[in-house]
């Protein structure tokens, strides 16, 4: 009779430990996301993106700080959502960089054609 309770107890123990185990995994996952965001941000700053995307960089920095604070407070879900919003700004920075390249190319072509026109006249 005593032996029949053992498997039930084991299953109960596993279930009790599960939230703790999964919780730890999630925290690590979010921390690694924050690390990736920090690395990307450093790269952006080094490439001189602050000249055209200062607003976005400020928002990403705030998101990283807020996510770190939320993790310390034990609010994992909030941290994950905040860092996801921060990560979305990287796409916008890339698009902005592309826009500046395209505008520069357009201006250069215009200047080149105008100079050619003037020299012909």
């Amino acid at each position: 009779m005593k032996h029949s309770y053992l498997p039930l107890l084991m299953v109960l123990l596993i279930f009790l430990q599960a939230p703790l185990l999964f919780g730890d995994d999630k925290t690590e996952e979010i921390k690694s996301l924050i690390k990736i965001a920090e690395m990307k941000l450093d790269k952006l700053k080094k490439s001189g993106a602050e000249s055209f995307a200062s607003e976005e960089i400020a928002k990403i920095t705030t998101a990283i700080n807020d996510a770190n604070a939320a993790i310390k407070a034990g609010k994992e879900k909030k941290a994950l959502l905040i860092i996801s919003i921060g990560m979305a700004y990287f796409k916008k920075v890339d698009a902005k960089k592309e826009l500046i390249d395209a505008e520069n190319e357009l201006n250069q072509t215009r200047t080149r054609y105008n100079q050619k026109k003037e020299s012909e006249q």
């Binding site: 909030k78 959502l81 919003i85 979305a88 796409k91 698009a95 395209a102 505008e103 054609y113 006249q121």
Partner: protein, 249 residues
Amino acid sequence: MRIINAVLFIVLISAGPLFSWDKKLSTTELQIAQKKMSDLEYNFELKKFIPHDFYAEAVISLRKAGLAMEKKDYLNAYYHSSMAIVKTETTTVVALVRKTRETLTKLEIDHLKKQKSKKTKKSTANEIIDANLLKKGNAYRIVFPDKNIFVSGKYTLNEFGEESLYKLVKVLEKFKKSTVKIAGHSKYRDLKHYTKRKADFIRKFLAESGIDEERISTVGAGNHEAMDTAVGFRRVNRIEIVISGIDQP
């Protein structure tokens, strides 16, 4: 006991605004997202350049935010609203990139066409004959039916139209004292504004090709003047260009 209950009730009521902080923030964020989306949708200059994949993502985020608000899940509503804002902004920037790239391509094509027409011009002997100008009194005249020079359904010049106008540009460049009068005509109705716009479009083209705008005048003649065609006088959608002052030294 009753007193304790009453105190607890008051504490809970006063704590209400503290819990509603997320709701206010989420509502504001959602409103900003909706405004940005409507700004993008009503930006008719950018509409044809909007990338559909980016736009779809932004719309989905906005809808998710709306649903979360309905379920009073304010944290998720805030998250989806923020994502919708970023995605709408990214969509706008990508649309601007596409617009700039198209302008660049058009500029390059125009330049190549002008180069081509200049080459053909060099091989000609007499600009007036080349441009098919006919002398009438002291002026030279040419008539272009709309269907010959415009792409059908649009007011964009076709290849023949551009070539013909470049030939006129050559004449105007050679005879610097000459002046041009461009008249737009319509077929069915007396559309003065419409015909004037047509004439202005040709003036703009000539001006962009290097002709001084002060030498060019435009008129919207409506449907008052018929044209002498092979089957008698008919009202035709057309552009008439009259160049005077060619004979002046």
